[in-house]
């Protein structure tokens, strides 16, 4: 299985690290250079970690665990009003980015209120494009248990619910973090930072169990293996979006229009096969993006 790590160091002799990553069968997911400093997100086979660690030491850099790297997570608030945003929704999103996830923050169109809170089929479909969702709920136990729980009852991806009051159990979600209610300022106090860590930890657990599920019937190729090949497409190279390709647990989001580029994406060659044959390629609900879901080895071999 691949392990995703973050290298933080200088640009001096960085090519040696890139070559070693390639030699051990790994991939560079993302590079961010600021003057002479560079951070590199990389995916390597987990048994090769000691070799990379040794090289990092030699180059004077640090190798950091980023357990959520290679995932895209939606942080959902009932509305975009100041009653729910930006605190603590943005603080949670920031915490998840610190452990490697790419996050989006979204508010529901009609999520406000108690009995009137609702989620549309479109919103559900958008949320289901991500690897996991964090629902940030409010203060009233009654409201959460009797009504807000409906917002995520039919969502097919793992859900982590975050709320204020202490609740022992909440249906329809994989994990629950209590003690974060409504906030009117940043979460900066010690106990609040611990709560943010707890949210990140719960999301990690949920992602780990999803990874284990995927390992039972492994993907035909790891998404990171496809990334480099898709990145060669002209439209991706011309894209000015900060992260034109985002890794998911079971695929990728490529931020180029589906209708225009579906054929070229399907024609990309991966280990002697067309990408279109080993993955399902579809339009994303978010405009201007294409979703690639990689089929499992058994699906490809049985020709499904």
């Amino acid at each position: 299985m691949y392990e995703v790590l973050l290298y933080d160091g200088g640009v001096y002799k960085i090519n040696e690290l890139y070559e070693l990553i390639e030699d051990v069968g790994g991939f560079v997911i993302q590079k961010t250079q600021v003057q002479v400093q560079i951070t590199v997100t990389l995916a390597i086979p987990e048994e090769e970690r000691p070799v990379i660690e040794e090289k990092s030491r030699e180059l004077g850099g640090k190798l950091i665990n980023v357990p959520l790297a290679g995932t895209e997570i939606a942080v959902v608030a009932p509305t975009l009003g100041r009653h729910h945003m930006p605190h603590p929704t943005c603080d949670i999103a920031e915490q998840l980015r610190r452990v490697g996830a790419i996050t989006v923050v979204m508010g529901l169109a009609r999520g406000k209120g108690r009995q009137t809170a609702q989620i549309s089929a479109d919103e559900k479909a958008v949320i289901e494009e991500y690897d996991a969702a964090v629902f940030v709920l409010g203060n009233f136990k009654d409201c959460i248990l009797e009504h807000k729980v409906r917002l995520f009852e039919d969502i097919d991806i793992p859900v982590v619910a975050v709320c204020g009051p202490e609740i022992e159990e909440l249906p329809s979600c994989e994990a629950l973090v209590c003690g974060i209610g409504r906030k009117v300022e940043r979460m900066r106090r010690e106990e609040e930072i611990h709560k943010l860590d707890e949210v990140a930890q719960k999301v990690e657990e949920v992602i780990r169990s999803k990874r284990r599920e995927l390992d039972e019937d492994p993907l035909f190729v790891h998404p990171a293996e496809i990334k480099d090949r898709v990145a060669e497409l002209e439209a991706v190279q011309r894209s000015l979006r900060p992260a034109p390709i985002v890794l998911h647990l079971d695929g990728l989001r490529v931020k180029i229009p589906y209708e225009e580029w579906k054929d070229q994406i399907a024609a990309v060659e991966v280990y002697g096969r067309r990408l279109g044959d080993i993955a399902s390629i579809s339009d994303s609900r978010l405009g201007g993006s294409t979703l690639i879901r990689i089929k499992s080895r058994s699906e490809v071999e049985s020709g499904q």
């Binding site: 100041r82 409201c143 009051p165």
Partner: protein, 182 residues
Amino acid sequence: MSEHDESFADQNFDTIFRQVMQELGVSRMVEDYRIKADPDAPYFIISLRLGKARSSVKVSDMALIDQASGGSKITIIDENWAPALLTKLWQLYGRDAVEQLTRFELIVTGPGPEIISNLELDPGEELRTKVLDAVWRVFPEGFKVRYNLANDKAMTIIGTEHDMQEEWMKLAEELHKEMGAS
């Protein structure tokens, strides 16, 4: 009443209302407040006992007034009063008659310097606007059906999601009386 223990909500609303009032600088203007909520009903009540606002000020105390062709020229000295002054001038003479040359200079067409100098700016309105802003920031977003009670001493707002019940309004009125009788 709700069958669930809502002590977290009670405590949290108290904290966030205090923080919002502090952020808006109205903590001293609110002498006391009560927040009462029943999410099962559902209703949410905020009742405030208002403190005394700053005493009113004449325009001549916060600005220099000169004669201008067809009206007066105002040069603002204390910018804290600028929003209140502009609102007053717009109310009295209309937006077309008030021309803002710079942040501090205004030309008012019509009234002479004497009339403008004697205008009084009422800080009470400014206070109410800010306190109301604090209330809306805390009030649950979905509780759109509202009933307000206000006098010089107290302000009470009750909100619910669907139909407002008589008994909840009575509850708000009782709370309002309690806050008003200091």
